[in-house]
Each structure stands twice: as structure tokens, then as C-alpha cells.
Symmetry: C2
Subunit: 206 residues, 2 copies
Amino acid sequence: MKGPKISEAVVRRLPIYLRYLNELALSEVQTVSSQALGQKLDLNPAQIRKDLAYFGEFGKKGIGYDVGYLIEKIRHILKLDQMIHVALVGAGNLGQALSNYNKYLQDNMKIVCIFDASPAKIGTTINNIEVQPIGALQQVVQEMGVRVGIITVPASEAQNVANRFVQAGVEAILNFAPAILKVPSEVRVHYADFTTELHSLAYYLD
Amino acid sequence: MKGPKISEAVVRRLPIYLRYLNELALSEVQTVSSQALGQKLDLNPAQIRKDLAYFGEFGKKGIGYDVGYLIEKIRHILKLDQMIHVALVGAGNLGQALSNYNKYLQDNMKIVCIFDASPAKIGTTINNIEVQPIGALQQVVQEMGVRVGIITVPASEAQNVANRFVQAGVEAILNFAPAILKVPSEVRVHYADFTTELHSLAYYLD
DNA sequence: TAGATTGTTAATCGATTAACAATC
DNA sequence: TAGATTGTTAATCGATTAACAATC
């Protein structure tokens, strides 16, 4: 919004900062330096200072960063100072596992509806959420104000689900299926493909 | 091995190429150009050519890349031309979901053993694999020739599990727990944290 | 004041993209 | 031959790191 475009690399680090800051807050640590953060998170302190400086002057020279204040600021930057509703399509094993993560998403984001194509799944309940037919996606997503979609269906179905999400006005998608999605440029897609991850790890074996 | 150090960005794209090439092979496509690959995978064709050229001259000018040959080459580069044994620690929902992915890992990698700390889980069977106590990790990992470890335990346990993996001689770790691991530099760690991923997505909401 | 640490500029490093000769 | 496409060099772009004045 202000001026300089923020790189994806920076945005990806912010949640990592946030996570550790939350730990510090729990331990009632008041203040932390970029040095200490860097040590804990395996990052260069200059990089951390620069990342934060894109968004404002959050620290105090000679002192460091106030933990509570920085948490507040990062949550605001990440738009996590509001509740964000998430939909999940694919009630298989992975979908079920992810829907258990609601507790870790804290009060920032929440999976509020789950869809599946299989009649055997529809009507069952996962974490107090009733699985609904995919045909209901558009209506439910709009009614519940869902802004983020998660795809945990087989690769062959992923593009179809993405289309439905886009149609329903979802703004961002997290895709666990091993497939590249084609979506309008205003919709943000991130990929979380377990097999790709493992395969690239193999490269580093001796 | 040859000379130029390959960047992580390049290594991360190789499995994506491989995945699509496998699809092409299934459709009995003989040949593919960097142009066509780029279109499908949302990547710059020059980047694809450059990535591949780090490892050899795999294409034919005027023609493109032979699909079968390129698959063979990439599998070799990624060390996926041998079976790689994987261990998983944490038989919770996510661990169970991942162990189902064995079929997608094809004949390159295989989860061969599963561990958990909870007495309730030990002795149960997931996908024909008996869950074993964490105390057995070192011995089993060595006996079975496990080279890669997956961590799907709570964050508070992750470092402990990582230490055990390192101790047992595992060469690479895929960590799903929301924690930064401290391991010797010769052990490669990749992170796959679902909550971090979702939180960074939130930034791109309007 | 002395010591610590930020915010920021400049320097370095690395990755992506464009362009094109080579050649199938 | 004409058209297509690679491999590779050069140009561009972007991200990381070092350094240091400002200042708590």
C-alpha cells in the first residue's frame, strides 16, 4: 500500500518471525534484538532489520524490538488482525489432518467449511464441521465470507476445484495437489506439495 | 560433483519438471520444448533451459527434449534412480496422511518405518507398517538403511526427534513441525509448515 | 558517558531473463 | 533450405549482507 513492492521472500519470513515472537511473549520476554532473532531463526540480523524496516520503524536503537508491539505490527501487516475464513476441499486423510490444525491457526484464521465429491464423505463430520457436496461450494463460500481456499483433492481434480474457488470469489489458494493451477492473476496461489518437497531433498543426499 | 554449485531454486524446480514429464510420458508424448514446458509450468523457457544445462546437454537444437531421456536424466540428478528409504516420526493425523502418499512417491522413495512416543499408538498398524516406539529409532533406521526422516510431531518435540535422526545417521529431514531445527551443516533440512504457509498467504488478501 | 542496536546506504552476491549463434 | 529450438553469454533484475551514522 505505501510504496516499495515487498518481495515474496520477505513475506514468507514474516510468519516465522511472528511464530517465534509469540513464543517469546508466552515466556514473558519483553524485548528482542535482531541479533537474537537471527540466532534463533538461522537468519542474518541485517536481513531481519531490513525486512521489518519495509513496513515501519518498529525497533528502538540500542534496545531492540518490543515483543508485544512487534507481534501487533506483524499481525497487522499479514492481515491477521482480523479473522480470516478458510474453506477446504477434499476430506481425505490430508484434508482431515489439516482441519485439525485449526487450533494452531489461533484466532487469525479458521477452516469454516469442508467439501468433498464423494457421497460416502458428504454428511460426515470432521472437527464439528459437516462435509458438504462440492456443488454447494459457491453458495457456502459466499455466505460464510471465505477468502482463502485449501485444495487437498487428487491432482486430476485440482484445477476444477480452483475454478470453483475463483468463481466463488476466493482471493488466495493453498494447493496441496501436485498440479500447477491456472488462475487469474489477482488470485494468489501457493503450493505445498509433499512429494515435490521430498524429491528435492533427495538431491542433497551424498 | 562436476563444478558449478547448483542453487536451491534450481533443485526445487527439477521435481516439478519431472512430475510433468511423467505425465507427458503417460500420454506417450515423445518430445517437449522448453517453450511448451514453460507454458504449462508457468516458468520462463530460458530458465528451464538454463536449469537443465547445468547438468548436461539434454536437448536437441530445433527439436526440444526427448521426454523419456529427460526423465531418466532428472531422476539421476535427483538421486531418484535408486530406492530411498524414509522414516516418519509422529503417527498423528498428519503422519497418517503422509504415509498414504507412498503410492505417489512411486518407486523412488518409500516410507519404511513409523515411530511414535504414545503407548496408545505403538503396535498399531498404518498402511501395513507397525508403529514403533521412538526408542527404537536409531536401531531400526540403521537396519533399514533409512536416509531421510520426516517429522510430524508437535513443535516441542521436533528438536528432540531431529537429534535422534542425526544421531542415527539420517542425511536429510523434512520437518512439518513449526520449529527451526538446529542440526549439523551436513544434514539438510526442509520445512513444510502449513500454518506459516497460510499466514503468508493472508498478506496477499486485498 | 559507554555500550548496544537500530535503520539505511552501499557493496556484494545470486538468480532471472533476453538475445542470438549454433545446429537439428 | 527454412523453421524451430537449444545452449550459453550478456544484461537485467532482485535479494542478501556489510558497514556505519544515529541514537536509545
